[in-house]
């Protein structure tokens, strides 16, 4: 039923015990309400990064049409799409209570919003 509208998405795990934020920020142990996401990003030292700096393990935050946080996904693959002069980003995310899916970061249910910005908590050594 879920895959009818997203045929390229690949199911990883069927579970409803956590939501997307619980998957990304709480080791798949619980649900986290979207209102707490900004606090988590601040506390955990996440910083916004530009699309060309994205690496696997970074996250992408989705927002709804009111600009509120609606979804999060973890980047698993980020590569240049030379033919179309853009980046192709494959992510892993929990779709509500419907399970985890590997999918293109633009291919999500409308209820999950649209990709807004990439964030990373990476600590990079500086010279």
């Amino acid at each position: 039923m879920v895959l009818d509208n997203h045929p390229s998405a690949q199911l990883r795990s069927l579970t409803g015990t956590y939501n997307c934020f619980g998957m990304a920020f709480a080791n798949r142990r619980t649900c986290i309400e979207p209102i707490h996401v900004q606090m988590i990003l601040d506390d955990d030292g996440y910083k916004e990064i530009s699309p060309q700096d994205v690496m696997p393990g970074d996250i992408v935050i989705y927002r709804d049409n009111r600009g509120e946080v609606s979804h999060v996904a973890v980047v698993v693959l980020h590569e240049p799409d030379v033919a179309n002069a853009k980046w192709k980003t494959t992510v892993l995310s929990q779709w509500g209570a419907q399970g985890e899916y590997v999918h293109d970061h633009l291919d999500v249910h409308q209820m999950l919003g649209t990709p807004d910005k990439f964030y990373s908590e990476r600590r990079i050594a500086t010279a």
Partner: protein, 201 residues
């Protein structure tokens, strides 16, 4: 669309699957209110006796036993009925929320029912405070103080030591059982007052 068809659709897996794409309660309720089936239910609820039928169905679902290792299969349906009652039948929604809040292993339904009950509680507090001509924020403190005096009077009439009866939580007469918070503050206050009396004596 007939009511039976709408109820069947709401309790079916497709409706639950579509509604449960949401990551948070705001998205869930936004998606619910825009859903074709929910809008159909809201339309039907304008007809007489339909709200009562939905209420009865909701209470029946809420009391059904569930397999405890799994989520309640009627979580989405219960939330949908409660939301529809909240929009159309405020006289039924509070009783419905009480029933739904007891349904095991619910996520959305529990959150919604607690929100309805909290709102009803706040409404009662506002009503009582307006009847008493008081600020709603100070009503709770006044009730605590009155109950404190009631404990002291009852204890002394029955020959209890006031401090002891409060400290032990004297189960037969202690109205503190019904106070959800502020108990420690009141007890501390009472003890301090008695200490001062003893010091003065």
């Amino acid at each position: 669309m007939k009511l039976e068809d709408v109820l069947r659709e709401i309790e079916g897996p497709k409706f639950a699957a579509e509604a449960n794409f949401a990551s948070g309660s705001k998205a869930f309720h936004g998606g619910l209110r825009n859903h074709r089936v929910f809008r159909g239910l809201v339309e039907l609820m304008k007809e007489p006796n339909v709200p009562q039928a939905v209420f009865r169905r909701m209470v029946e679902l809420a009391s059904r036993p569930v397999q405890l290792p799994f989520e309640n299969p009627y979580d989405t349906a219960l939330t949908t009925y409660l939301t529809a009652l909240d929009l159309n039948s405020p006289e039924l929604v509070e009783r419905g929320a009480e029933a739904v809040s007891k349904a095991p292993n619910c996520w959305w339904a529990r959150e919604m029912s607690l929100r309805v009950l909290e709102r009803a509680h706040q409404g009662q507090m506002a009503l009582h405070s307006s009847q008493l001509g008081m600020n709603p924020n100070t009503l709770g403190e006044t009730v605590h103080a009155l109950l404190e005096d009631a404990v002291a009077i009852t204890a002394s009439l029955q020959g209890y030591d006031v401090n002891a009866s409060i400290k032990l939580g004297a189960t037969n007469l202690n109205p503190y059982r019904v106070i959800p918070s502020g108990r420690r503050t009141v007890i501390r206050y009472r003890r301090r007052r008695h200490r001062n009396k003893a010091a003065a004596a």
